[in-house]
């Protein structure tokens, strides 16, 4: 996973599938990165590299959204595949945060 900070916007580029075997490590990396920075307004998750997802991965995204929104920050998903966008919409997650293809 790579991160980029620019103009108070932190972007995480996820390069591995959002599935059960990968989530624990992702969580650690993301939490460490979020604890290191102060002055950001928005967190963006770039899902360009994700082909596979499961409910552990979805729960990770939801948990992340909750933590970030509790800090008063904006949260957005970008570059998700059409299948993943559809999955998130079926789960009505688009009611909570923006999901872009």
């Amino acid at each position: 996973m790579r991160k980029n900070i620019e103009n108070n916007l932190m972007t995480f580029i996820i390069e591995k599938d959002l599935i059960a075997p990968n989530v624990k490590k992702m969580k650690e990396v993301l939490n460490d990165a979020l604890n290191e920075v102060d002055e950001i307004d928005e967190v963006v998750i770039d899902m360009d590299g994700i082909e596979n997802i499961d409910s552990v991965g979805v729960s990770f995204v939801v948990s992340l959204y909750k933590n970030i929104s509790n800090e008063g920050l904006e949260f957005r998903i970008v570059n998700a595949s059409s299948d993943i966008v559809q999955l998130f919409k079926l789960m009505r997650l688009d009611e909570f945060f923006i999901i872009e293809e």
Binding site: D17, I19, A20, P21, N52, I53, D54, S55, V56, V58, S59, V62, S63, K66, D83, Q86, L87, L90, M91, R92, L93, F96
Partner: protein
């Protein structure tokens, strides 16, 4: 037509590797017409197998998860069985929680939304998917 009949070790990585092989097989053999259906099967299999590993077998390396996939007259049948105590429905799916922000309770709702019909029998779940009704 039998597509897969296999036992899987009780860990998430084994589930991942198994699902990749199944999806690759279905894709190469052009069994389904829509790529979206392959994605749905991918998500469904991960959901059911991960739950069998976590809640059925409780990650016990001495227990296996059994998976059989058949295709007959445009109807897919997926049978997943663990070696747990049974009643897997109650163990790992909170049916009826809906699509809220609640964590780890969405699996069965999503599978239903994807068009899979399912039936539980103790520590076994049987799912059907009709290819002629691909959504």
């Amino acid at each position: 037509m039998l597509i897969v009949n296999k036992e899987i070790e009780s860990n998430f990585e084994s589930v991942h590797q198994f699902v990749l092989k199944v999806i690759d097989l279905i894709d190469k053999e052009k069994i389904v017409k829509k790529q979206n259906t392959i994605f749905k099967i991918n998500v469904m299999l991960r959901e059911v197998l991960n739950n069998a590993v976590e809640h059925g077998n409780k990650f016990d390396e001495n227990r296996m998860v059994y998976c059989r996939i058949e295709l007959d007259k445009e109807i897919f049948t997926f049978i997943v069985r663990d070696e747990g105590e049974g009643c897997i429905k109650d163990q790992f799916y909170n049916v009826g929680d809906g699509f809220t922000m609640k964590l780890r309770s969405r699996g069965l709702d999503l599978i239903t939304k994807y068009g899979f019909k399912y039936k539980f029998n103790k520590n076994e779940i049987v799912l059907k998917y009709m290819l002629d009704k691909e959504m």
